[in-house]
């Protein structure tokens, strides 16, 4: 744990400027995919999660730009807006399950994107919003932090995301998490002992959306611009690939997925000059991982350990045989 934090603290200083920018987005994406996993605990997979992140981004940006709400507060309110949107959407969406929920969430997301495109005031139409207020600099004489610097924003995002992950983790470990899992595996049995499955599905959706909204706020005030395309279904596919490749059985699976794939994408592909082929390569990685690693990267650790033990057991037996 200590090592992890030390590594995260020195990491940005080992990176180039553009890599630092990528590191900021990576930290934000960690929150995006982890919040997505919370929703999947109840067994429902949504295609609207990135749009919900966009709701947080647009709301926070507009609150800051139009109403002059100070930025950290606007992010919280934006996340609240994302959560409220989810609460409203859950009424039509949770009448459906499985495949129908998937399609329903896609449709709901497209409607929201259509609203952003259609209503130039206040959403800026297809071009979106530009020159969004940055995170305010801290200037307390002895300490002055300029959040325009990626390194500084990296640390800000790291703190916000770590705190959010901690909350998500606590929720999963509590009885609420047990109930989410119960609904996933046998919703009829859960309902029969008094679990209001609709309420709990809504709760998972609302919490997941709140933290997606936080990710959106972090994104908007870092990049300074948002537009409907940034939150399109292509982006959602990346989230799905991160989650599937990483695996969703454990808390760290999706985090592993987003980190490994970002590293592959930004370092390997960019170095090879293949980064325009990203969708193709992501598709290939998805297929390969479904075929050869159906339980995701998270299953790699236990599998390697088992193989190591078998190998050691085998070689010990061989030695015994030799003597």
């Amino acid at each position: 744990m200590v090592f992890l934090f030390a590594a995260l603290a020195v990491l940005p200083y080992l990176l180039s400027y553009s890599q630092q920018e990528i590191a900021v987005l990576l930290v934000i994406n960690v929150l995006l995919v982890s919040s997505y996993r919370l929703l999947t605990l109840t067994g429902e997979w949504s295609l609207g999660h990135v749009v919900i992140m966009g709701v947080g981004a647009y709301a926070s940006a507009l609150l800051a730009k139009r109403l002059g709400v100070p930025v950290p507060l606007s992010m919280l309110l934006g996340a609240g807006m994302a959560a409220a949107t989810a609460a409203i959407l859950s009424f039509p969406l949770f009448r459906m399950k499985g495949f129908y929920f998937l399609i329903g969430s896609f449709a709901a997301g497209e409607i929201i994107r259509l609203i952003w495109k259609r209503f130039t005031d206040p959403f800026g139409g297809p071009k979106g919003l530009k020159r969004i207020d940055p995170f305010p600099d801290i200037d307390a004489g002895f300490l002055s932090i300029d959040f325009y610097e990626p390194v500084n924003y990296y640390f800000l995002a790291l703190i916000v995301v770590s705190a959010s992950l901690f909350v998500l983790y606590r929720i999963e470990r509590s009885r609420i998490g047990l109930t989410f899992h119960a609904i996933h595996w046998q919703d009829r049995l859960a309902e029969s002992v008094g679990v209001d499955t609709f309420r709990y599905r809504t709760l998972a959706f609302v919490i997941a959306s709140f933290f997606a909204g936080i990710a959106g706020g972090l994104y908007a005030h870092y990049v300074g611009a948002v537009n409907p395309t940034r939150f399109s279904v292509d982006q959602m596919v990346y989230v799905l690939v991160w989650a599937v490749v990483g695996g969703t059985a454990t808390f760290y699976g999706p985090i592993l997925g987003v980190i490994v794939l970002t590293v592959v994408n930004e370092i390997v592909l960019r170095a090879l000059g293949l980064d325009t082929a990203r969708p193709l390569i992501y598709g290939a990685i998805l297929i390969l991982s479904v075929l050869y690693l159906p339980n995701g990267l998270e299953s790699l650790g236990p599998r390697l350990r088992a193989r190591w033990q078998r190998w050691r057991g085998g070689s010990a037996a061989a030695r015994r045989e030799a003597t």
């Binding site: 909350v167 606590r170 929720i171 509590s174 009885r175 609420i176 047990l178 109930t179 899992h181 119960a182 595996w185 046998q186 009829r188 049995l189 859960a190 309902e191 029969s192 002992v193 008094g194 679990v195 209001d196 499955t197 709760l203």
Partner: protein, 265 residues
């Protein structure tokens, strides 16, 4: 007998449920006395499970009403009914297969372990959770499953799984328990143990409604038996009357359930 015992705790009036053109339950009425073990039998496809599904809120009735503790509860949500004290079990093993035995019963304690969202987040629900865990352990002990608490459900033999299904339901502290074929697939020894357990559950003050094909168990356990056929009421009465009723024998002989017919005759 006191006046309280006379008032039905559960009642169906003209209950009907259609699936497209098929009438699974047809103008069916019955009433269950508080504290009784009430049998509901009938040949395969008679509509017993559908009746349970309608009473417990899984399906809305097409027509008719369900009264629980004198209240019209037709069409209410299953979870709301469970909160009122009406809990059902399932035909076949329906469990959280991926959970441990104890976690199954912990989910069963859902209603008894209430806490707010933030107290869960902050861990301030420790007391109530510890209590819920202790109660879950007690429930397991009641069924003799306490040594298996940490086993994954999928490792349990069939008989134990059936028992665990009952433990999960009982953990919800029902007033009325609807049991859908709790004895299927059990060997005679397990059936005997299960019969004792059902009696002990009733002795704890829980009213039991029992759907079952094992005629020996039904005849021995039930105070009253309602027989349904083709979705409608056929006969109702105490076991010795039902057992010798020509219409009941006819219904069982007319159907493919030779085992039921043999026992009933």
């Amino acid at each position: 007998m006191s006046a309280r015992d006379e008032r039905p705790i559960l009642e169906a009036r003209g209950l009907t449920r259609r699936f497209g053109g098929l009438v699974a339950v047809n103008d069916f009425s019955f009433s269950v006395r508080a504290g009784a073990i009430h049998g509901l039998i009938g040949p395969n496809g008679a509509g017993k499970t559908t009746t349970f599904n309608v009473i417990s809120g899984f399906y809305a009735p097409t027509a008719g009403q369900v009264f629980f503790r004198g209240l019209d509860v037709s069409g209410r949500k299953t979870s709301a009914l469970a909160a009122m004290g009406l809990v059902r079990t399932f035909q076949g093993s329906t469990l959280f297969q991926e959970f441990s035995v104890l976690d199954n019963v912990r989910v069963g304690r859902h209603l008894g372990a209430r806490a707010g969202f933030f107290s869960r987040l902050l861990g301030a629900d420790r007391r109530s959770e510890e209590k819920a865990d202790a109660q879950a352990q007690d429930t397991l002990a009641f069924f003799g499953l306490e040594d298996l608490a940490d086993e994954p459900v999928s490792n349990l033999p069939h008989g134990h799984q059936r028992m665990l299904g009952l433990a999960v339901a009982l953990a919800a502290e029902p007033e009325v328990l609807l049991l859908d074929e709790p004895f299927t697939g059990m060997n005679p020894e397990e059936t005997g143990r299960m019969m004792t357990l059902v009696q002990r559950i009733r002795d704890r003050g829980v009213t039991v409604m029992l759907v079952e094909h094992d005629m020996r168990a039904v005849m021995n356990l039930c105070d009253v038996i309602t027989v349904m056929n083709f979705g409608a009421l056929l006969v109702e009465g105490p076991p010795e009357v039902v057992r010798n009723d020509p219409a009941v024998i006819e219904a069982y002989l007319g159907s493919a359930t030779a085992d039921g017919a043999g026992d009933a005759a």
